[in-house]
């Protein structure tokens, strides 16, 4: 069996609250999380909002150390951010707004000191791949939300990382744009075959994109509830074959949403 690209073993993450009235109290966000992603696999991490999906991604990215357990990337323990794992962030705060589309995409290549001719070629290739020709010299604030996410995708692909970590990249987009971006990502992934960890709270999105879907439980102490393979051929479209799997995932996730809602109402009735 080949070495998995990403392996999370019994990982947990605890935060110490800094705001009153719970100052100093510990909050267990993630507990005993284990999963792995094989090379070239597209794994969707699906969970109710606030369950710690982003925290988990940040631990794999190396932005945040796990409080328990370990995170391995290609067999090595993660010690910090690295070029082998590129992150596509949810918002556009991660884009460099003083740089144009072209310069944003070029950023990683420039930091690594690649020669200009090579940089030019890679930048042009990736801008074409994400369909941003004609917008090379625009700044992020001159682009639409969907285009900005395309810039982010082109920026990480230019660096040719083995692993792509995507933190609800289309969460802030309108439904139509999101649909288009999902199709585009599916197309890009088919041509570049990266290992992907994709975070979402959208069941249909996970069914469209994922090879497997890991459903998370609600926090605190969130963990993986179950991992479901998606045995559907690509390119995928909504149809009859979707429905059974969709029902199963929906039931699993609704249970978790209800659980977290009950916790919130408990907390407010006991607190108030």
């Amino acid at each position: 069996m080949p070495l998995p690209d990403v392996e999370v073993r019994n990982a947990g993450r605890t935060f110490t609250k800094r705001a009153r009235p719970d100052r100093g109290r510990e909050y267990v966000a993630l507990e005993n999380v284990s999963f792995s992603i094989s090379p070239g696999e597209f794994l969707c991490l699906l969970g109710p909002s606030g369950c710690g999906k982003s925290t988990l991604l940040r631990m794999v990215a190396g932005f945040l150390p796990p409080s328990a357990g370990e995170v391995l990337v290609r067999g090595d323990r993660v010690k910090g951010p690295g070029m082998d794992r590129a992150v596509v962030f949810q918002g556009d705060a991660a884009l460099f707004n003083w740089l144009t589309t072209e310069e944003n995409v070029e950023f990683g290549l420039r930091m690594r000191g690649l020669p200009l001719a090579q940089r030019r070629r890679i930048v042009a290739d990736n801008i074409r791949l994400v369909g941003l020709e004609g917008f090379e010299h625009h700044h992020p604030n001159q682009l639409s939300g969907g285009m900005r996410q395309r810039v982010q995708i082109a920026r990480v692909l230019a660096n040719d990382p083995a692993i792509l970590l995507m933190d609800e990249p289309f969460g802030a987009l309108d439904a139509q744009t999101r649909g288009i971006m999902q199709q585009e990502l599916s197309r890009i992934w088919s041509s570049r075959r990266k290992t992907v960890l994709f975070i979402t709270h959208d069941i249909d999105e996970s069914l469209l994109l994922g090879d497997r879907i890991a459903v998370m439980t609600a926090g605190p102490g969130a963990t993986i509830k179950k991992v479901l393979p998606v045995p559907l051929v690509r390119p995928r479209e909504f149809g009859e074959n979707f429905l059974g799997l969709r029902r199963e995932i929906k039931a699993a996730i609704e249970e978790e949403v209800m659980k977290s809602m009950r916790q919130v109402s408990d907390a407010s009735s006991s607190g108030g």
Binding site: F96, W98, L99
Partner: protein, 270 residues
């Protein structure tokens, strides 16, 4: 802010630009005429030129001061002090602010000074500056450097602290090292804050130079205003005040145009 909004509007509909500019110029002119009329009426009603000189008398005073070359010399003296002090202060303030923003140790170390001097206007140091640095240029420049360093450093620090963590993270996982993150992410991201600090510092520099020139100087617009009082040449005081307003207006515009052309990509908003 108003100007920024207007710029945006004209940028979106360039065809309207000229008519809108004309309209603004017309309103500007009417506003000026209103001020002159009110001023004239008040002066006529008071009827004591030494108490409130009329616009005409003030204009004559200005001609007089320009003919003798005094006004130009005073403007040059004040401007020279501001420019030297402001440039020096900015050169010290930017690295200091970056250092304070990047290093928690440095921030904690500087914190008591920042909190203490925040409430002491540079004017409070005028007498001390004269005792330490004499009546010459040094004392005024030192005061302007002080106020500029303070404003630029604090705004720069705030900017550094406000850089979105995701920007740093993005750069790190694109292969940048810590030094590259600083040079290629932090510094460009704080450019708007630096410019804001410089703009506030410029306003403070004007206040500082005028008060210093009033207390101890042989030249400068502040000296002109203060000295005219001794001879009850009230119209010269008016000339000095109007000159100051114009000088401020011109420097502000110059800063704006510089920022808008040189720093366009950094999305500096003034």
């Amino acid at each position: 802010m108003q100007a920024a909004l207007a710029v945006e509007r004209t940028a979106r509909w360039p065809s309207n630009w000229s008519s809108e500019a004309m309209q603004r110029a017309a309103i500007f002119a009417v506003s000026l005429v209103c001020a002159l009329v009110v001023w004239s009426l008040l002066a006529w009603w008071v009827a004591k030129p030494a108490f409130l000189p009329s616009p005409v008398k003030t204009f004559e005073g200005a001609i007089e001061l320009i003919r003798s070359g005094e006004l130009q010399a005073d403007i040059a003296a004040s401007f020279a002090r501001i420019i030297v002090g402001f440039a020096l202060g900015t050169l010290i303030g930017i690295p200091l602010g970056l250092l304070m923003g990047m290093s928690p140790l440095m921030r904690t170390f500087m914190d008591p000074y920042v909190e203490f001097f925040r409430f002491i206007p540079p004017i409070a140091f005028v007498s001390l500056a004269v005792i330490w640095f004499g009546l010459g240029e040094t004392s005024k420049i030192v005061l302007i450097v002080y106020t500029t360093v303070f404003m630029v450093a604090i705004n720069t620090m705030i900017g550094v602290l406000g850089v979105e963590p995701d920007k740093r993270f993005a750069a790190l996982c694109l292969g940048a090292n810590e030094r590259q993150v600083f040079v290629h992410v932090v510094i460009p991201a704080v450019v708007p804050n630096i410019v804001t600090g410089m703009k506030i510092a410029m306003g403070n520099s004007f206040m500082t130079v005028v008060s210093a020139e009033m207390v101890a100087a042989k030249s400068g617009v502040g000296f002109l205003i203060f000295n005219s009082r001794l001879f009850l040449l009230t119209e010269w005081i008016f000339v000095g005040i109007i000159t100051l307003g114009l000088m401020g207006f011109i420097t502000d515009r110059a800063l704006r145009i510089l920022a808008a052309t040189l720093l366009k990509r950094y999305d500096v908003r003034l």
